[in-house]
């Protein structure tokens, strides 16, 4: 909702539609009729935040509770921020237009390390003290969840509590506890102590961290009965867990402007670089009936004419063909398209292809991740060149002529030959096109090989690995470009400096809180946007703070070092990750969860694929 104060600023900004709310299906309540006002903050602009499924789920779910009003808050773009600061308008929530300074709970979702400065900037713009110790009342409770909360330490000074794992249940439990303590007029300390006893809640102020002289962590000691480790929360019955039947439908175009159905959680694959693949274990599927109903409800309530079947690896759903057939019983009549954002190289069948093509054709993207078989074995990406060739031939036969291949450079054990292998693989795809007798007539082929820089992440077998230095990464990027021999293959890469900063914060500790504060004071924000990111500025900040970023990004840890996130437990045993790391160096792969259990530890959650009957290869 817009009030006069907001309206006056809108004439001077681009895309005012970002700042007004009022969209279809947004939730309006009366502030005096609720007990808890919750600001769901996404530390990036509207178009990015509104595309995020987690926000849609938790926003809708919190609003099903009569005594809670959850509203959305996004980072204003720089033009709007300038207007807001100039005119003394604090950060407000979209539904009410009210300043979030007066809210009970201010919750952030942590999706990306480079959005951390935006969090501080948003708190500052709201007029909320940045540090948890400077906020004394129970209200203005600043909380966070999301994948980056798996190592919350670089943000520990700013947050009162973190949600570890999946939020659907634990968010509601914390909100209910908050309401009770607010009614009883209890203190923030009392509340945090009680909240820390809820599974999936991490209260950083209740843990004392000591360091060795070399700055590695010496010990993590809980206080006041706080648990050690802090175990993640997880929704074991994904069919029964909350999923909204309505999404807020933005007026303005956002990044993913469509119905999103979550078909499964977790991943069976165990690619050794992939954090999500470990954080969300075990693999849990939704049933065809439930997905079909949720898709239909959402299309009915939003008017969207496209459904995206979303997950870490949608084609691993054991009943994908059945699901698409079921959806087709109504989508074709209603002119609704189906898209699959994540396809694997090894199970893209002609049958599947004809099913998604029947409605609308989108580009095809596959992620072999590494250019040579040896390196693909190292990272446990169990995809062969033969499978890739079979897949692209299927695609060419089906009329596709544009293929995008995703790779990473800087992977452990990688050599320049592996990098050249990326270009060679691209070339082989081009050759396959011309050798294919059923290729589309009169059309050329375009193969984009996109190389991002590898960032070692917590809770993966590579969490001990050094990241390649930026110098090495740039050398590899140049080598990739030099290895491309034709114009049919287009190489593409990301700047190494943002990956470096991502690596620093991904595996950082509490000493980085000071760096973030200093970065915020120096005006760092929107670091995920290339035109705002200033690497030299960041290096100055590290220097001023007396912290060597290479300590976090480029240092090899020993297996017995205490890691800053060792007190957080995602159910994956450290010993399993160590074994996987050793297997990587021996070029040995690990079978996927459907083929064979590798005893990662996720069976402690008593469900999902760990307890399914295995039928051998799928």
């Amino acid at each position: 909702m817009v009030n006069k104060k907001i309206e006056k600023l809108l004439a001077n900004v681009q895309k005012p539609g970002r700042y007004v709310g009022g969209e279809l299906n947004c939730v309006r309540k009366h502030a005096d009729e609720v007990d808890v006002r919750f600001a769901f903050c996404f530390p990036d602009i509207y178009e990015v935040g509104m595309s995020h499924l987690g926000l849609k789920i938790l926003y809708s779910q919190l609003n099903t509770v009569p005594y809670v009003w959850c509203e959305r808050v996004f980072a204003p773009w720089v033009d709007m921020e300038e207007e807001m600061r100039k005119n003394g308008l604090p950060l407000y929530a979209l539904e009410s237009g009210d300043s979030i300074r007066d809210f009970d709970i201010i919750g952030f979702t942590l999706q990306y390390e480079l959005s951390y400065t935006n969090i501080l900037n948003m708190l500052d713009l709201a007029g909320i003290p940045l540090k948890a110790e400077d906020r004394h009342s129970l209200s203005q409770l600043v909380v966070a969840g999301g994948p980056c909360a798996c190592n919350p330490e670089p943000l520990a000074d700013f947050f009162d509590l973190f949600f570890i794992g999946e939020g659907e249940e634990v968010d509601l439990e914390v909100v209910a506890l908050y309401r009770e303590y607010k009614k009883q007029d209890r203190s923030k300390e009392e509340f945090l102590k009680a909240a820390s006893q809820i599974q999936g809640v991490y209260v950083p102020s209740l843990y004392h961290i000591s360091y060795h002289e070399d700055h590695t962590v010496k010990a993590i000691v809980p206080k006041e009965g706080a648990p050690l480790p802090v175990k993640k929360r997880i929704m074991m019955d994904v069919d029964k867990s909350y999923f909204p039947d309505k999404f807020v439908v933005p007026y303005i175009e956002i990044v993913h402007d469509r119905t999103v159905a979550e078909v499964l959680r977790g991943c069976i694959r165990g690619c050794r670089f992939c954090q999500a693949g470990f954080l969300y274990r075990p693999f849990r599927e939704k049933s065809v009936d439930v997905i079909d109903r949720q898709c239909h409800d959402l299309c009915d309530s939003t008017g969207y004419d496209e459904i995206s079947l979303s997950s870490l690896s949608t084609s691993d759903h054991s009943r994908l063909n059945e699901l698409i057939d079921r959806l087709h019983t109504w989508t074709e009549k209603e002119n609704t398209g189906i898209s699959l954002p994540s396809l694997r190289v090894d199970n893209f069948s002609p049958e599947l292809m004809s099913k998604i093509k029947s409605v609308r054709r989108s580009g095809l993207t596959f992620a072999p991740e590494a250019g040579t078989q040896r390196l693909r074995d190292v990272i446990n990406k169990n995809v062969t060149e033969e499978e890739l060739m079979k897949t692209v031939n299927t695609a060419f036969k089906g009329g596709w002529t544009t293929i995008k291949l995703y790779f990473m450079i800087g992977l452990p054990t990688e050599t320049l030959d592996d990098v050249a292998g990326i270009a060679e693989l691209g070339q082989k795809v081009v050759d396959a096109f011309y050798a294919n007798p059923d290729k589309p007539k009169g059309k050329g082929v375009k193969v984009t090989v996109s190389a991002s820089s590898f960032v070692p992440k917590p809770f993966t077998p590579f969490q001990w690995e050094p990241q390649d230095t930026m110098e090495t990464l740039r050398k590899k990027q140049r080598h990739l470009v030099a290895s491309v021999k034709t114009r049919k293959v287009e190489p593409n890469w990301h700047e190494a400096d943002t990956s470096f900063l991502e690596a620093v914060f991904a595996r950082g500790d509490r000493r980085l809180c000071g760096v973030l504060l200093e970065a915020h004071r120096s005006g760092c924000k929107m670091d995920g946007w290339q035109n705002f990111f200033s690497f030299p500025k960041w290096m100055e900040i590290f220097e001023r703070c007396g912290i060597d970023p290479a300590f976090y990004a480029n240092r090899r840890r020993s297996f017995d070092e205490v890691l800053p996130w060792d007190h957080i437990d995602y159910g994956i045993k450290k010993s399993f990750l160590i074994d996987e790391c050793k297997k990587a160096y021996a070029n040995v792969t690990t079978p996927n969860c459907r083929e064979q259990c590798s005893s990662c530890g996720a069976s402690c959650f008593k469900g999902g694929i760990c307890y399914e009957k295995r039928q051998g290869l799928v």
Partner: protein
């Protein structure tokens, strides 16, 4: 098959969305309402939907219209209004559906209501100053056109303008050329006040109605 003209308002938050966004919003609403929309029969079928005269970003509309072509004649006016309202955000309410009488190309004028905040100044004084400005021999403001900036004299278009002082500010009703041949954006009047009177007033502008060359209301 029949063409219908859907009448709606663009108010509140909806004032801040562009014409392109409004277009997508309407298409989604029609899809959501499951209206039997007629699709073009070409290689790339798309819905047949046109707007009489798009509004500029930030300006509200009290009587906006959109023409759609339906495959089915059986649907009633009330059903159409009900279904569309159930599918649209609150700030884009549909209030009527009629058969188109005029062609959008016949539109020649639009009437606007502008509410200016005078911020502490007595509204009567400000209103008098604006009246004086609007009666000068020339009132020239820069205007964006396809061929770059030009100097436009607003004076010939200000004869049907009324400036009234209210308790909380100044209200201007204006009838300005609108349509494909000549279009004068009401915000140019604000530009003139800024340039000549150094008055930078917050203005809430609404388009009230559209007219043909004979000042007959667009139907």
């Amino acid at each position: 098959m029949k063409n219908v003209r859907v009448w709606f308002k663009k108010i509140g938050t909806a004032r801040y969305i562009s014409h392109l966004d409004l277009n997508r919003c309407m298409l989604r609403a029609i899809h959501k309402a499951k209206l039997p929309l007629w699709y073009t029969q070409g290689y790339n079928p798309h819905a047949f939907i046109t707007f009489a005269l798009p509004l500029s970003l930030g300006i509200g509309g009290e009587r906006e219209s959109m023409d759609i072509r339906l495959d089915d004649d059986g649907i009633t006016r009330e059903e159409l209004i009900g279904k569309l309202n159930a599918a649209l955000p609150d700030d884009i309410p549909v209030f009527d559906v009629t058969e188109p009488v005029m062609k959008p190309g016949q539109i020649a004028y639009a009437s606007y209501l502008m509410k200016l905040e005078t911020q502490g100044h007595p509204p009567e004084e400000t209103a008098a100053a604006i009246r004086e400005l609007f009666s000068r021999e020339t009132v020239v403001v820069p205007k964006h056109t396809k061929n770059g900036m030009i100097d436009l004299d607003l004076r010939p278009y200000l004869d049907r303008t009324e400036v009234v002082a209210r308790d909380d500010g100044v209200e201007i009703s204006a009838m300005l050329p609108a349509g494909s041949t000549m279009n004068v954006n009401p915000s140019l009047l604000c530009d003139a006040m800024k340039k000549y009177l150094l008055l930078d007033l917050f203005s809430d502008i609404r388009r009230i109605n559209l007219y043909d060359a004979d000042f007959k209301i667009f139907e």
